[in-house]
Amino acid sequence: MDRLTAPGPEGGRTRRDVASGAVLLGVAVAYGLGALRVPGAEGEPGPAFVPVVLAVLLAGLAAWIAGSALVAPSPAEEPADALPFPSGRARSEARVWLAVAATAAYAALFHVLGFALGTAGYTFAVTRLFTRNRRVLVTAPVLVTLVLYACFRLGLGVRLPPGPLG
């Protein structure tokens, strides 16, 4: 077994390595092209030098990761973090991206809705991804909002956006 690409705790040499290697290779190429556009400087390596070196390094590592996975035999076991039921995986991934959307919306609307409304709404949305218990869905947003308000506004004096509540 090649120890340089030996299995880690999450995945190992699977198609995921090919995919991640390919993505990293793409990142390296894009980054390298961007680095070439950085103006140079007289008499020293210049601001583009290190980025170009990093792009080459990442491209090499990405190619190694993807290439090693391509030539490796398919693993007999599922990755350590795989969920037990295949039909649940799609739902699990959907929950993740819903959480991402909720977090991005919270950040985007933090100043519009204000701290209280924004935090309560965000907490409700994310709590809903964990449970359907109505008591928790009602108390968690209130509790989280109050605790954070106490810590940041009252405890540390941080100015939090008031939003429409004023």
């Binding site: 020293e44 390596p45 290190v50 965000y122 907490t123």
Partner: protein
Amino acid sequence: MTDVLLDPATLTALAGGVLLGIVVGAVPGLTATLAISLLLPLTFQLSAVRAIVMMTGIFTGGIYGGSIAAITLRIPGAPASAMTMLDGHEMARQGRTGTAIALSTFSSVVGGVFGGVVLVLFAPQLADVALTFQSPEMFSLVVLALVAVATASQGSLAKGMAATVVGLMLSTVGIDRLVPVPRFTFGSVSLLVGVPLIPVVIGLFAVAELLHQVRRTEDDAPRAAAAAGAHRAAGWWRAAREAGWRLFLKSSAIGTLVGALPGAGAAMAAFLAYTEAKRASPRPEAFGTGIPEGIVAPEAANNAMTGGAFIPMLAFGIPGDAVTAVILGGLVVHGITPGPQLFQDEAGLVGPLFAAYFASYALILVLGMALIPLYSRITRVPREVMFPFIGALAIVSSFTSEGTAFAMYVATAVGVLGYLLRRYGYPVIPVLLGLILGPMLEANFRRSLILADGDASVFVRSPISLVLLVMAALLPVWMLRARRREP
């Protein structure tokens, strides 16, 4: 020197500083640097002695406080606590939160006292050693630190290196430090100053952890098991003995030495100490599974760093890290000029500073142990409340750290990155270290070549630099051999 601490007002300033430092250090998004910066105007009302004592308390408390969130929430309160999180949080998941915090507290105190003793006894000598580290040596030290973390991380070496390079790439965003041209800013004004560090820490750990937990809503059994004995600190002394006094000493020495190097910082101290502990351990495969050594090494090192960081600041007026830079500003405001003459001209201030330093660690020991039941309650909060709280805390903390909406977007985006890295088996800590050390790496590399007129042999002509580069080259070989010994 100790008489000044018997003054109730001075003691109150110290205790207040330590407590504030612990709280600030424990809250992701807040740092000791921020706390001291915010309190600097307040210290104008205090005498020079009380101001120094308070700032020292915030500094030491802040470094220690970062481990609390790392252990209980799996969110490093400060970048330096990222390594403590690996074994600390795992120990908490096993129902030994109290033990983990007690061990972290004890290690912090041992490391802090060690750094303080070195500070008092050897400050001038260590300052001379620190002066021998010029640009080539600093570049080589950073290379060693980056290689060390990449090889010590879980997973394959190639993935660890790739994660490190990703972090280094992030560090190149913004205006170049030597030639004022923008790099990878995409026309964004917010990116001109680079990718903000604290939102990245919050994103990589807090937001990513939230996403990871959302994906797995079944199987609540691990948290229930953790709640049972979480508040007990039983066994922490046995765990400390299991780690061994040699590990305490070695990690503290690493932390003190790194702290004495200007700009190196607590994160590098913790990463190097953890890596060395893993390399030298007869059971390297156990790191990351909740073993005492994984807590002792980084905590002893990053707290020993606090003593080391004072050395260049007091001896030469060169701050050892961001916090000491702000403290230096505070000293100047109070009419104190650090430098070689400080120990003669301002002996009346140096003594209280040393006394406050040691007294702060005594307070950390007492407060840390006494508050274990309170910290342990955190692990008993149901996950359907805890993780939404973490998500909201992450976004609010990001906003607080920079005061901009941009910081919140960074935390969210980096959170997605951290989640994907973890899903595909890449370690995230090398990304963080690459972001932290990237500027130092590049600046010292280019400065070395400028001063040597482009002669690359400058990195091997210096014995110190050569040794560090050889160690960096050999470290992957040692680690791979250690992995081959794994069952």
